[in-house]
Amino acid sequence: MTLEASPDHSEVASLLEPLDAGLETALAGLHARLARDAQLVHTLDIAYRIVDSPLGKLLLAATDRGIVRVAFELENHGDVLQLLANTVSPRILQAPARLDDAARQLDEYFAGARREFDLILDFRLSRGFRLNVLQHLPRIAYGRTESYAEVAVAAGSPNAVRAVGTACATNPLPVIVPCHRVVKSDGSFGGYLGGADAKRALLTLEAAA
């Protein structure tokens, strides 16, 4: 009798399969609706989207204060989102609308048609001296470079050359905050969190425009 009272699970699941009709299409629409609704009721702490670029896919993430993170594929987008969940908020959705402006300006930049970004940035992932460094970087003009030592002076700590390197290597907003314009005193590129090729590509792009 017990057996009769517990029909086989997989058999029942296949019996119920008609409930799956059009499920994927419905879910795509529902996801978009959730992103919209969440934005409206202010429960979406981080919106993100993935955009194509000459440097590969870029993850763009924004809080309600501004763009908070740009990440290269090399950094592993899943890891980056998990870190945002741990440090800012797990209320994260793929919600492209909040990043329309950023995506458009990046397209223009990579096309050589934009020299400065006009975006509101959220620097909450950076503190102290690293923040000073990042806030100085946009003052390095498009197509120009500065050495780590020059940036250290500009950020108010001439001896902190190594810390400038760390600030650049942990820049949460690469490309938009141009850490790629900081190079070694001997003129070699130095490291880059998107890889040396990405840094070379950006400097070449800016030199050509």
């Binding site: 029942v12 699941a13 008609p18 499920l23 879910l27 989102l81 969940a85």
Partner: protein, 176 residues
């Protein structure tokens, strides 16, 4: 950062990707295809709101099904308030004879089940909740939940075995 946050909770996007389909199946079984979408939206919006307070390591699927259960009940109540008494139910397009059919019959058969049976089938067979948890949602004992689930499945099988007879029994028997 509080230490609890260090025990990582996944981005909500991952929860939607992983659980969205199951929750939609459950809502479809309990409410029908149309209202299911509103219930799904209500469920995930409420879940997103409450997500930071969910204890790390909690069973996310059971948590979502519980929210969906309450949202579906809201819709069932709103639906019965909206519904006007009619002499006979509106004609539905028949799926009979349509290739790959049986879909409409199954959906009609699920819709024709008493709510408790529909819920028991959805929560146990679609969401995989043990009957003990199903009973927590529906009230009553785990045995009663198990019976409701088994009766529901039996009715569905009968309905699919003999669809035309079923259509008649709905128009008179089940609707008051």
């Amino acid at each position: 950062m509080e230490p609890e946050q260090a025990v990582s909770k996944r981005p909500f996007e991952a929860v939607v990707q992983e659980q969205g389909a199951t929750v939609l199946r459950v809502c479809r079984a309990v409410l029908g295809t149309h209202d299911a979408e509103d219930a799904w939206s209500d469920t995930f919006l409420a879940a997103l709101q409450a997500y930071p307070d969910l204890p790390p390591g909690a069973n996310v699927q059971a948590w979502l099904v519980t929210i969906a259960h309450h949202k579906c009940i809201d819709h069932l109540r709103a639906g019965s308030r909206r519904a006007l008494p009619v002499d006979s139910p509106p004609e539905r397009p028949s799926g009979l004879g349509i290739p790959g059919g049986g879909h409409a019959e199954l959906l009609d058969a699920v819709a024709g089940l008493p709510p408790k049976q529909r819920q028991a089938v959805a929560y146990h067979y679609l969401a995989g909740l043990p009957y003990k948890d199903v009973a927590d949602l529906l009230g009553g004992t785990p045995d009663a939940a198990r019976r409701a689930g088994a009766d529901g499945v039996k009715s569905l099988r009968n309905a699919l075995a003999d669809p035309p007879a079923l259509a008649h029994s709905f128009s008179k028997g089940e609707l008051r």
